[in-house]
């Protein structure tokens, strides 16, 4: 869900809540609580009142409640979440049959990851992908996509690599900062596959490259 839709949804949520609790029954319940009927646990009831009922019976405070909801709903999921936006000039695809191909243009790679999920989109015109993270280090992330292929994101170099099978041939893709380094890596990925190396060995090669601290 885009951030705009999320913000709108969270903004509408308190309004719906307000309409619901604006009903007389809710109001009377609040009155009875305020008058002290059955209020043995007053502190928790007061907390519930302040969070849910107060904005309902005082529409002017609804705005503050909305702001509170939007803040909570937008900040909480982003805790521990990393978002990276990388502008790059060209990307490479290397097909086992058709060879190396360089695509020039202005692209934006968006990568978002937490502890479990890696979401990425090579550009606005490409589909977004969600993968399950298998390994995450300071330098790189290895994730598994829905179709079972591995995705490698080099945090140090800001580059993303993955391989996919088109009919009988494999194609390696590389997106992100730089040109020569990506070209080197996709070429090496296909070379390793042509040597009957496994996907794990390709990932090991990419990990080794990302581990270098220069």
């Amino acid at each position: 869900m885009s951030s705009f839709k999320k913000t709108t949804a969270v903004g509408v949520f308190p309004v719906c809540l307000w309409v619901k609790f604006r009903q007389k029954e809710a109001y009377l319940r609040w009155r009875s609580l305020k008058q002290g009927n059955g209020c043995s646990a007053m502190s928790s009831v007061t907390a519930i009142y302040w969070v849910f009922f107060e904005p309902c019976v005082h529409p002017t405070r609804l705005v503050f409640f909305q702001i509170l909801c939007i803040t909570i709903f937008t900040v909480t999921p982003s805790l521990g979440q990393h978002n990276e936006t990388i502008n790059y000039k060209n990307y490479y695809e290397y097909d086992q049959v058709y060879g190396l191909h360089k695509e020039k243009g202005n692209y934006t790679l968006v990568v978002a990851y937490g502890d479990d999920t890696l979401k990425w989109q090579a550009d606005k015109k490409f589909p977004a992908n969600t993968c399950t993270i298998q390994k995450i280090t300071d330098k790189y992330i290895v994730a598994l996509s829905e179709d079972g292929t591995k995705v490698f994101y080099s945090r140090s170099d800001k580059r993303l690599f993955y391989m996919t099978r088109w009919e009988t041939s494999l194609t390696a893709y590389g997106f992100g900062l730089g040109s020569l380094g990506i070209r080197e890596s996709v070429s090496q990925m296909i070379r390793l596959i042509n040597q009957d190396k496994s996907e794990e060995e390709v990932i090991a090669f990419l990990s080794r490259q990302a581990e270098y601290d220069f």
């Binding site: 730089g178 040109s179 020569l180 380094g181 080197e184 890596s185 070429s187 090496q188 070379r191 490259q209 270098y212 601290d213 220069f214």
Partner: protein, 154 residues
């Protein structure tokens, strides 16, 4: 007024050179490899200055006093070496042997170059770098090889 101007110029010069180290070296033969078996020496017969200046962020080096400095971004600096980057191509400076090596990419092929006082060492390293690149090693692998050579791991 003249004294004041000199003082200001002195301050500017001091500021520009702050934290910067300069190494003066030389070479009589430099080496260049287009392919593993296509290495050549040049600059024979006379001694040429090799000037290396660096700080934490920038490496500048000049292989000829008549040419300007090549300015690179420092990616890693250690006591014995500096790894720098110039337009995605790596430059390696061996501070113990006061030599400079770099990789070039011409017509879809890598080339390697080396300058330094110890011709035998430079020749063998430039040749080894080219051999690695021809065997599909990456530039980073080559830099790691040079680091291992400098630090004595190889």
């Amino acid at each position: 007024m003249k004294l004041f101007t000199h003082f200001i110029l002195f301050l500017i010069a001091l500021h520009a050179s702050y934290g910067q180290e300069t190494i003066k070296s030389y070479y009589t033969k430099a080496f260049h490899c287009k392919k593993e078996n296509e290495c050549s020496a040049f600059g024979q017969g006379y001694r040429q200055d090799l000037l290396i200046q660096f700080n934490e962020n920038e490496l500048k080096w000049s292989k000829n006093i008549f040419e300007g400095f090549t300015v690179c971004e420092v990616r890693k600096k250690a006591d014995h070496y500096i790894v720098a980057l110039l337009d995605e191509l790596y430059v390696y400076t061996d501070l113990t042997n006061t030599s400079v090596y770099y990789i070039d990419f011409v017509n879809d092929n890598y080339q390697t170059w080396g300058y330094g006082p110890d011709s035998a060492v430079v020749k063998s390293r430039v040749s080894a770098m080219m051999k690695m690149l021809e065997n599909h090693a990456t530039q980073k692998d080559v830099m790691q090889f040079l680091i291992d050579q400098t630090t004595g791991k190889n």
